[in-house]
């Protein structure tokens, strides 16, 4: 059987290596890969994120003759949430859609790394793209409005989970939806919904009751709840349930994306 012998030589060594050591190695390589391939994009993105974050914080004061403390506080603690999820939720799916359109998607999928490594590396890149903008927005808000901010240690899980849920939702949108056009359209609509129709930048009481109730089932309101609770003093109701809802969304979306990535085309 000469063909079989030849075949064993020709077939590349393409199996996924298992084990923690390999996982870490693959993870480090994938993060480097993302950072190197997205270097121009990431710099542009950071600038846009900074301008948008600072712009929102400063812009809200123009809406009022004298800006009320509540409005300033809500915008200032809501902008970090938007900074955190923009990369994973909005730009991530658009990047995947672009990759699908120009063919590099198949190439990236052919790499011998496990799905969990790919996801973890992308999550890290999303944190790198979101956290600096979040810090600067908060700093500017503090300087501009002299806000009573109080950063508690809960900011760590809040930031990690907010970014994770956003990234996984974007991951599911990018990978589980076949058509790049549909992905682009949905993310455009999401931007609109996040800025205006989710109680992130303003109190829940300022929107119609039914819309607030509807928002309870979606992750965006909960992201704002956990992040705001970690940034402002005082007791906060419903933080625990917010963590639970966010966690469930993250797990469900990770599952969806994982299934889509595991399927052979």
């Amino acid at each position: 059987m000469p063909e079989l012998q030849d075949a064993s030589v020709i077939v590349p060594h393409g199996t996924v290596e298992r084990g923690a050591r390999h996982w870490w190695h693959d993870y480090a390589v994938m993060v480097q890969w993302h950072l190197a391939s997205l270097r121009v994009w990431l710099v542009t993105l950071t600038i846009v994120q900074l301008l948008a974050g600072v712009g929102f914080v400063l812009g809200i004061s123009l809406f009022f003759v004298r800006v009320p403390m509540t409005a300033a506080l809500f915008v200032s603690t809501g902008v970090p949430v938007i900074n955190l999820m923009t990369v994973g939720l909005i730009l991530g799916p658009q990047l995947v859609a672009d990759q699908k359109s120009n063919g590099s998607y198949e190439y990236l999928r052919s790499m011998p790394v496990s799905r969990s490594v790919t996801a973890a590396a992308w999550y890290t890149v999303c944190l790198i793209g979101g956290v600096p903008a979040m810090v600067v927005s908060l700093g500017v808000a503090r300087l501009r409005y002299d806000l009573p901010l109080h950063v508690s240690p809960m900011i760590v899980p809040a930031v990690l989970l907010t970014s994770f849920a956003g990234t996984m939702l974007g991951y599911a949108l990018g990978h589980a939806i076949g058509s790049p056009m549909a992905t682009r359209l949905i993310t455009q609509l999401l931007v609109f919904a996040i800025f205006g129709f989710a109680p992130i930048l303003f109190p829940l009481s300022q929107m119609p009751r039914w819309l607030g109730t509807l928002n309870w089932w979606f992750p965006f309101r909960q992201m704002a709840v956990v992040t705001r609770a970690a940034l402002t003093p005082g007791g906060h109701a419903a933080v625990l349930s917010a963590y639970v809802v966010l966690g469930l969304w993250a797990i469900a979306c990770a599952g969806l994306a994982g299934r889509a990535l595991g399927r052979r085309p």
Binding site: A52, G59, L62, P68, A71, F202, P203, M207
Partner: protein
């Protein structure tokens, strides 16, 4: 490659001499409008939906930012809605379309057609100005319904809306033509939308801005669009409408000049 010459005139060759004259220009305009409408026809419902969503959606959204929507705020938001609906069509969607046409080569094809380029540009202006109107009316209706605002329509509204739509489209088109790189156009339009939505006195009084920013806005088109449209929908709310009309006319002329400059050159 044989050209049969009979009676001193070559046959089998296309009639290639330039035709001119008002009659020919008008005929070209009409055929270009047919041509352009044929191309955008399938997108018309979507354009109207996007415009309505933008105008009405933004009007609803601005309301959420206020703890209490007073009568004055409601009036400002409602009368700002048609302006908000007109801006994305001219400043974002039209440049986007032009950028796409440049990438796929349609643009060169249109320029190669035997109709005057001024008629081609005029066709775009007229068509898109007409297309801009339903979306802004819907946006106004939704906002007026949401905030229960009573409007006082004046005849000034017709020239105001037409001039605003024409201005947005002329400037957007001139900008898309004058900037040769579609990527740059994309960045500029997105930055513009950000400025319009956050830093322009369209849904709030200009007096709330710092003095320097207000001065900048007296010369930019967005505030002046809001002024003339608001003047057509209310009575006694805005002053200095004539100056705003002049500024808008100047922007329209500038957009037209940019277009003329680009289409007048040969590559």
């Amino acid at each position: 490659m044989t050209v049969v010459v009979a009676g001193g005139r070559p046959r089998h060759l296309p009639q290639s001499e330039l035709r001119s004259g008002t009659g020919y220009w008008v005929a070209s305009l009409v055929s270009m409008m047919h041509f352009d409408y044929g191309r955008v026809r399938q997108w018309v419902p979507m354009m109207i939906v996007i415009q309505t969503m933008m105008g009405a959606g933004m009007a609803l959204l601005y309301g959420f930012f206020y703890p209490h929507v007073t009568a004055t705020r409601a009036l400002y938001i409602t009368t700002g809605a048609p302006t908000l609906a007109l801006i994305p069509l001219g400043f974002v969607m039209l440049p986007g379309t032009v950028a796409e046409q440049k990438l796929e080569g349609t643009f060169d094809y249109i320029w190669s057609l035997p109709s005057p380029r001024s008629a081609q540009a005029a066709s775009t202006f007229v068509l898109y100005t007409l297309l801009a109107l339903p979306g802004s009316v819907f946006a106004l209706l939704v906002a007026a319904w949401r905030y229960h605002v009573h409007l006082a329509f004046s005849p000034l509204l017709v020239p105001a809306v037409l001039l605003c739509a024409l201005m947005a489209i002329t400037v957007g088109y001139g900008m898309a033509l004058a900037i040769s790189n579609p990527m740059v156009t994309n960045v500029v339009t997105n930055a513009l939308m950000f400025v319009v939505l956050l830093f322009s006195p369209i849904v709030y009084p200009v007096s709330q801005l710092p003095r320097w920013l207000a001065t900048v806005h007296y010369f930019l088109p967005f505030y002046n669009m809001a002024v003339v449209i608001r003047a057509g929908l209310t009575s006694g709310v805005v002053a200095h409408v004539a100056i705003s009309f002049v500024v808008l006319a100047a922007w329209t002329a500038a957009g037209g000049a940019a277009t003329a400059w680009v289409v007048g050159r040969r590559r």
